[in-house]
């Protein structure tokens, strides 16, 4: 498990990170969200050792992360960068070896990834000859080529069209084994909601919410939504609930006593067809707005 423990970082007088603590659990994708300037990139750069923290540490399997272990991490920085004039195959082999693969294994992995990304015919092209989308593909391949033990991706999907995002997500799912913790930052909340298992919300250098997406988004809700084929006006006469809104067959209500919602569902079924019933989910963007307010 990758743990960020009490990271604090100042730039001059400005406190960029204030006691940031969270876990990135293996086999789960952890989304890292926050407004611009909240400290996401700073946190990620500290995890990768590119920047030092003023206090706190990054831990791997319960111990302080060493440079040797860190070399097996995969990293995609916010500001994309590879060698513009180097052939993409040579480039990926180089990065594989830089992370400790032997030359044969690095070549093997490179060919597999290029094949997988549909770039096999472009293997001898220099990077700058590729379209931006393809350059982004090579960039993610550079983070994956050495079979990383943990992945840190800073805005990996920014600037990609939805199809390219899907292709990239498939690749990640395929490449990332259940032992690998993945942390990725994004400001595309719908994407985070769709992809992530866990969520860390950062605001002005502080963690303001953290936990499984399902929990954060659903919350300990007491609000339910019922849609019936007919009129739902009868709900107004039920005791123990507070009706928020009824419009034709659609109703939104709060349950004041536990388990009462099940009785209401049974009642609704006896009255006619039920089209929809369930707890009212809060959109992640609402959680985000709430948390970063």
């Amino acid at each position: 498990m990758l743990r960020v423990a009490g990271l604090t970082r100042r730039f001059g007088d400005q406190l960029a990170l204030d006691d940031v603590t969270f876990d990135v659990v293996p086999g789960r994708m952890t989304g890292f969200v926050g407004a611009n300037g909240a400290g996401k990139t700073t946190t990620m750069r500290i995890i990768l050792g590119v920047l030092a923290a003023n206090s706190g540490q990054v831990q791997w399997q319960g111990e302080q992360l060493t440079p040797e272990v860190r070399r097996d991490f995969g990293y995609m920085p916010e500001e994309r960068g590879l060698y513009p004039k180097m052939k993409i195959r040579d480039q990926l082999v180089f990065f594989g070896r830089l992370h400790g693969l032997d030359p044969d294994r690095a070549a093997e992995r490179t060919d597999k990834l290029l094949e997988r990304l549909g770039l096999a015919e472009r293997a001898t092209d220099v990077l700058e000859a590729l379209s931006l989308g393809n350059q982004q593909r090579v960039q993610i391949a550079a983070a994956l080529v050495h079979e990383p033990i943990a992945l840190v991706l800073d805005e990996p999907f920014s600037g990609l069209d939805p199809l390219a995002v899907d292709a990239m997500v498939d690749l990640l799912r395929e490449e990332v084994t259940p032992e690998v913790p993945v942390l990725f930052s994004s400001h595309q909340l719908d994407l985070v909601e769709r992809l992530c298992d866990d969520l860390v919300v950062l605001s002005r250098g502080k963690v303001v919410a953290a936990g499984p997406v399902a929990q954060l988004a659903a919350g300990p809700t007491t609000t339910y939504r019922l849609v019936v084929d007919g009129d739902a006006g009868w709900l107004r006469d039920v005791r123990g609930i507070r009706v928020r809104d009824v419009a034709g067959g659609t109703a939104l209500f709060d349950v004041e006593e536990g388990a009462l919602e099940q009785k209401i569902l049974q009642e609704a079924i006896t009255r006619g067809p039920v089209l929809e019933f369930g707890p009212e989910r809060v959109a992640l963007s609402d959680v985000f707005r709430e948390a970063t307010r």
Partner: protein, 388 residues
Amino acid sequence: MNALDRPWALIAEREISTKLRDKTFIGSTLVMLFIVMVAVILPAILAGKGGADKIAVIDDGGSKVVQQASTTVGGDGYEITRAADRPAAEKLVTDGDVKAALLPGDDGYVVVGKDHVDTGIESGLREAAATVGMETNASKAGLTPSQLHSGTKVELQLLDPGPLPELVSQFVNIGLALVFYMTALGFGMMIAQSVVQEKESRVVEILAAAVPIRSLLWGKVLGNTVLALSQIVVIAAASLIGLLATDQADVLEVVAPVAGWFVVFFVLGFVALAGLWAVAGSLATRQEDLGSTTLPGQMILMIPFFFSVFAGSSAKTVASFVPIASSMSMPGRMLTEDVPVWQPLVAIAILLAATVLIVRLGARLYERTLLQTGRRLGYREALALENS
């Protein structure tokens, strides 16, 4: 889990293979090679080496004089071209087929040239004609040639001979300093550029996450030192072939003993500077910044270069102990003067200490500034920076 013990070796390897595929680098090496070949071969051609000068004669007397001149002039001597008569000999001269013609005159001989006669040929013929004439006159008077010449011989003795003639020394001094200057400057700019390219393309962040920043520096310095030395070896080999092909092998006897010293001074000086050039690259954020960040490096090279070329001999002796300047002046001094062996040894010790200091300072600055991509930094500012 996988481990790579020598990330700097990989960095150096990439540095070398990238340069070897870089058309600009290959092109400039070829141009340099061409210039060196021309510089080696051209003087030989101009000096007319590799063939005897032809002198036209029309009678046996002339032949005898030219033969005599040929034995005293040394080198390849002169080649006799026999012409049928005076006009034929003059035509050979005007056509440029012979350097000069030696024709009978009213009282002795006339040397005939086109627009001028080479002074070497003129004096050689003059002396030979006198010798031949006097020997003939002497034997008529009953003297043998040895009796005639006894007591007239003049020998040359130098009390403080240098290994090379003075003019040649000058050229060798400038040439050796120039080789270091050009190589250190050329590769220095390449190092700075390759560092700033990595900053500009942001690839540096991935590199820094994967390997220690010092390894990046060592790899760059090592790769470029290997490249620079190989370039010099290739050029040295080319000039060697040129010297052998043009019969100038005698120069080698003088140069060979100093070659090893040159390599030591070159490598130490180059490595010290390479560290500084890498810092010049890491202070910049864009290619355009290099003009100002590389200025100190250029000065450190240029001042000792002009000093070692134009300074007087005692100043040059001092310069040959000053780090970096010593790389440019000590090998030249050793070639052209008799330098006691302790001098290069002391100079190397000083240079080595300076190189270690400069490289350590360079590594510190490099570590602090490499990931600062916001704006260009100054040297003073970089020294004041804390580790990020």
